[in-house]
């Protein structure tokens, strides 16, 4: 694939990711509404929200406020371009795990910079909570994936997907790891028990406190894209990533709706509980999983 | 009056009667006693009650008896262990409306006295902070809860009313004019 064609597929992948995730989050809002015994909005409600926001005239707090926002969206789009979905890979051989994690982290840092520069201490507290939580769920998650990488001896996502088709899904390789990865994914998506950084009641929706109009619209697009990245990364690494598109969509929808409906029925943790939880349960499970992996597979070499 | 409070009230009434001859029992409800107190005895009675267990000053309220030209200050203290509430009712002249502050006995009294000053105009000697305004922002009239304050007149003077043309019924009605 020459350069232009691969960039084209990459952009197509990013657009597909945004459309897919916005639709599914619209459907999920309906599912959550049904859980709460009400009817919920139409499935394309998120599209309408984003388009309304892009037509609103809101407020800016300086060039760093907007620059950080553009970096956030650029990081999300850039990472989504590399994501392999059902066999379609934009940049063959370059979609390795560490690069995706760090480019997504650039998006997170852009968002932190922009909400920090809004001047509202509520936003800084929200970002502080988000980063504290981030360190909680990222360490076990990345450790598990490193165990996977050293097991499959490759860190390129698309190769891992092929290998899983041959030797069965990674869920069978590391069942405990799957559970921990799901808990971390739950934290990454910011679903209910772990949405302390977005707590509307305590810190007025945390980092989003000063966003409105097009800033909030851009941030929602970046959020949808980063959710697409996290969930499809999870599906590719642990659930075999789908040979055909419908299979991938099915797994993707199942994981996201399961995580959201879990969130719908749980209360919100305090920030200390989140930190204490993440430093006990997932890390212990990960260590047990790695030891099991080392023992069962006779050394990972 | 046979209720559980007897064994608490009896010693209290006896003590108060003995110590403070002028203090008169005004009302004796089931869990609440009201004493009539003179301004000069107030501090002694409050000190005695505080030592006897009535540690919490629930509130100070003020009643405006405009006909006999007096303010009635009611000090409301409560004892959590015995569950009996004691009210000390004290009449002060409405004209120069002055009373001694009790913030040295109960610190909490600061904001109660400040509120009474704002809404009734009672000056509490010894508590300068109470002269500042508390709730009403930029108030420009006499203290609003005094009986001689006419709220309707103030409202008519200060706020623009909505004007309805006198024709009521189906064809008339309020006109939300938006010029």
């Amino acid at each position: 694939m020459n350069a232009l064609q691969s960039i084209g597929t990459g952009l197509g992948m990013a657009l597909f990711g945004w459309l897919l995730q916005t639709t599914i989050s619209g459907v999920t809002r309906k599912v959550i509404a049904r859980i709460q015994k009400r009817r919920g909005p139409v499935w394309y409600q998120n599209f309408r929200d984003i388009m309304k926001l892009l037509n609103k005239r809101s407020v800016t707090h300086g060039w760093a406020f907007d620059f950080g926002l553009l970096v956030a969206l650029a990081g999300a789009i850039g990472t989504a371009m590399f994501m392999p979905v059902a066999g379609i890979v934009a940049f063959k051989g370059f979609d390795n795990f560490f690069m995706i994690i760090y480019l997504a982290a650039l998006g997170v840092f852009g968002r932190a910079l922009s909400s920090g520069s809004s001047g509202n201490p509520l936003a800084t507290i929200g970002v502080m909570r988000g980063l504290t939580q981030n360190i909680g769920y990222k360490v076990p998650y990345m450790l598990l994936v490193i165990a996977l990488i050293s097991y499959y001896r490759t860190s390129s996502i698309s190769e891992i997907v092929e290998l899983q088709r041959v030797s069965g899904w990674s869920v069978l390789v590391m069942p405990l790891g799957f559970v921990v990865a799901f808990i971390s994914l739950h934290g990454m998506l910011g679903k209910k028990p772990f949405d302390t950084y977005l707590a509307p009641a305590e810190i007025a929706s945390g980092p989003l406190v000063e966003y409105g109009g097009k800033q909030l619209g851009i941030l929602m697009i970046a959020h949808e894209l980063s959710v697409f990245i996290e969930v499809s990364l999870f599906v590719n690494l642990f659930l075999g990533g789908g040979a055909t598109l419908p299979e991938f969509l099915l797994k993707y929808a199942f994981i996201y709706i399961l995580s959201s409906s879990l969130g719908a029925v749980m209360g919100r943790f305090r920030i200390e509980q989140v930190v204490r939880f993440y430093y006990k349960v997932p890390i212990a499970l990960t260590i047990v999983q790695i030891l099991m992996l080392a023992v069962m597979r006779g050394g990972v070499r | 009056m046979t209720n559980s409070m007897n064994n608490v009230k009896a010693p209290l009434l006896a003590q108060i009667g003995a110590l403070f001859p002028e203090v008169r029992l005004k009302k004796d409800r089931d869990r609440e006693i009201t004493f009539e107190v003179q301004p000069r005895d107030l501090h002694q009675v409050l000190t005695y009650l505080k030592n006897a267990g009535w540690r919490q000053l629930s509130m100070i309220s003020c009643v405006d008896w405009i006909e006999d030209g007096q303010f009635e200050l009611v000090y409301n203290v409560f004892d959590w262990t015995q569950g009996l509430r004691v009210l000390l009712s004290m009449k002060i002249d409405r004209g120069e409306a002055q009373a001694m502050t009790i913030i040295n006995l109960f610190d909490g009294a600061m904001y109660y006295e400040r509120e009474i000053h704002e809404f009734f105009g009672v000056v509490f000697l010894g508590n300068e902070d109470a002269l500042k305004s508390l709730f009403l922002e930029r108030w420009d009239d006499i203290p609003p809860l005094r009986k001689d304050f006419d709220s309707r007149a103030y409202s008519d003077k200060k706020y623009v009313k909505r004007f309805y043309d006198p024709v009521y019924g189906p064809q008339g009605g309020a006109s939300f004019e938006r010029s």
Binding site: Y102, I135, V139, I146 | -
Partner: protein
């Protein structure tokens, strides 16, 4: 024009600077600037084949690719910092010694990197130590310079002892030869390697020896701290790499104890540097003062460098070298920015600062690039090195060390945001409203260094190619491969230009959406959502003290290393009092008894 002329020239320039400094301090700063930039030019043009030469048979020099890489890094840091000296206000008379010490320490660093025998290396190492101790304590020799000198002395003595052991055991002081001999013969090889590595760890600031860093960096004067933090800690990395490059071929490898294909010794040292990352990050998150926070982040980053070197695979060593350069550039920029902030606002305590982004935008941009590089995010050089190190960790399967490396990289996000948001973002304090941008003299080095970090981050291939050349010169079997525009990792490859391209495309799309939507209304900083309440005092309206309270509470109770040293110091004091009680007591009888016992032992000691 060989190395000796270069070093001698710098020494003479130093002395000349002292002379001139007494008369006109400004001229001395210009002289240091000229001298250091000239040295940079000479070394750059000379390349790594600059003629060696030896003086009086003892001080022999030879320029190797490794030496060239390290001297270029140091020289670049030193020369960009000379711009800084220009802006120092009229220094008091005793400051005149500063340019001299500055140039002498510069000359001796080049001496260390190009020395051919251990004695020359140790002599120059000591000169660096002495000159930097004086420069730290300029004006007020406080606790920082004493601790710095004490700990560095410990490291130097360890190195001296190792050199002498090598000298006696293998009868040669030649750097490569002695290490080669040590690698072959079992003899004192273990002792030599350990001592050399410990002395390197002291300079780099790895865990047990890191307590001097926060004190020294905090106390160093503003115009010397960037060099101390960015440059001088790299000396330790030089000797560490010399030693670790000989480890794979050494007898230690034949030891029965193997963990994941690594000798037990290296695995223990790997764990120590992993602990250093974790402790550096946790302590950095807790700090209230900006310079101390950056000092602890240097502790964490030295841990990364140490891990890269100890693992010994071609990719990890190249990662370590790239991380070394990235850390040097980034730390110099951050300390220069903190110096600029301190000059404009008078303090580096984070809770007194805030909102400086609006008054010092260029300084903020330079600081942002440096922080991104320290954290290791894509457009910057720090990402390339962290990627290399993490790749090699994953393929080697070292999970404990990988966990610490990940904790370090995500933890760096935390303290990077802390320093960024308390100093630059947030509310601008009224007393800082008249703060102007840093003087132009200060902005040149800032933009120069952050520009290099950005450019190398986008196009790192030349640099990684050079690290491959260094690996060849150090005797590694195979080196890190680069085909076209992608660095070949053993389980995935990295194309930094492609990542930047994807990011740039994303940025253009975001900009398009941003410009298409209706224009936003600019609002002041204080006009934010305050729950409908009216707040007028920006000082109270910012969140900066004990920033990560929930996280700090989790690891509040852990013991600190400095308490361990205090306990050690108390034991030594007790020992001292005991000796004084025995030998210098007023009662003559006790001392007479002891002297007689000692004499008896001396005379008939063997018989017993």
């Amino acid at each position: 024009m060989n190395i000796i002329h270069l070093i001698l020239g710098l020494f003479l320039a130093g002395i000349a600077a002292y002379g001139i400094g007494r008369l006109k301090p400004a001229a001395a700063s210009w002289l240091t600037l000229a001298a250091s930039w000239a040295a940079l030019l000479i070394l750059f043009l000379g390349g790594d084949t600059l003629a060696g030469g030896n003086a009086w048979g003892l001080l022999a020099f030879k320029m190797t690719p490794l030496g060239w890489f390290f001297s270029m890094t140091l020289l670049f840091v030193y020369s960009t910092n000379t711009f800084f000296n220009l802006s120092v206000p009229a220094a008091p008379t005793r400051q005149a010694a500063y340019p001299m010490l500055y140039l002498i320490s510069l000359a001796s660093t080049i001496g260390v990197f190009s020395a051919e025998n251990w004695l020359a290396l140790f002599i120059f190492w000591e000169i660096v130590l002495w000159s930097s101790t004086f420069m730290i304590g300029f004006g007020k020799p406080g606790r920082g310079s004493i601790i710095y000198f004490g700990m560095s002395l410990l490291g130097s003595f360890m190195m001296l002892f190792a050199i002498l052991v090598m000298g006696t055991a293998y009868q040669t002081f030649e750097v490569k030869g002695a290490l080669m001999a040590a690698a072959q013969s079992p003899g004192p090889a273990l002792l030599v390697f350990l001592l050399m590595l410990f002395s390197a760890m002291v300079k780099l600031g790895i865990t047990p020896f890191h307590i001097w860093m926060p004190e020294a960096y905090h106390e160093a004067p503003d115009h010397f701290a960037p060099v101390l933090a960015g440059g001088l800690s790299k000396l330790g990395a030089f000797t560490a790499l010399m030693v670790t490059s000989f480890l794979p071929a050494s007898t230690l490898m034949a030891q029965p104890w193997q963990v994941r294909g690594l000798p037990l010794l290296t695995y223990i040292l790997l764990t120590v540097s992993a602990v250093s990352i974790v402790i550096g990050t946790l302590m950095a998150i807790k700090q209230e003062d900006a310079k101390k926070l950056l000092a602890y982040s240097s502790v964490a980053n030295s841990g990364y460098i140490m891990i890269g070197m100890l693992m010994g695979t071609p990719m990890s060593v190249s990662g370590a070298l790239v991380h070394l350069l990235a850390h040097a550039l980034a730390t110099t920029v951050t300390f220069m920015v903190m110096a600029a902030v301190a000059r404009q606002t008078g303090t580096t305590r984070m809770d007194e600062l805030g909102g400086l982004l609006h008054r010092m935008p260029i300084t903020f941009l330079a600081f942002l690039t440096a922080i991104l590089s320290l954290v290791g995010l894509p457009p910057m050089l720090g990402f390339v090195s962290k990627w290399l190190i993490l790749q090699s960790l994953a393929s080697q399967g070292l999970f404990l060390v990988a966990a610490a490396a990940i904790f370090g990289s995500i933890g760096s996000l935390l303290y990077a945001f802390r320093i960024l948001s308390t100093v630059f973002l947030g509310q601008l304090k009224p007393k800082h409203r008249q703060v102007r941008e840093a003087p132009a003299v200060l902005l040149i080095p800032l933009l120069l260094l952050s520009g290099v970090t950005l450019v190398l981050g986008i196009y790192p291939y030349g640099l990684v190619q050079y690290t491959a050349k260094i690996e060849n010169s150090l005797g590694f079997a195979d080196t890190v491969q680069i085909t076209g525009l992608s660095i070949q990792g053993n389980n995935g490859n990295l194309n930094a230009l492609l990542i930047m391209g994807a990011f740039a495309i994303g940025f253009l799309i975001a900009l398009g959406i941003f410009l298409k939507a209706p224009k936003s209304r600019k609002v002041d900083l204080m006009d934010t959502y305050t729950g409908g309440e009216f707040i007028y005092s920006p000082e109270l309206y910012s969140y900066s003290t004990n920033f990560f309270a929930p996280l700090e509470r989790v690891y509040a109770g852990l013991p600190e290393i400095s308490r361990l040293y205090e306990a050690l110091a108390n034991r030594v004091r007790d020992l001292g009092t005991l000796v004084q009680y025995l030998f210098f007591s007023p009662l003559p009888s006790r001392t007479a008894l002891l002297i007689s016992v000692v004499t008896i032992l001396l005379i008939w000691g063997e018989a017993i």
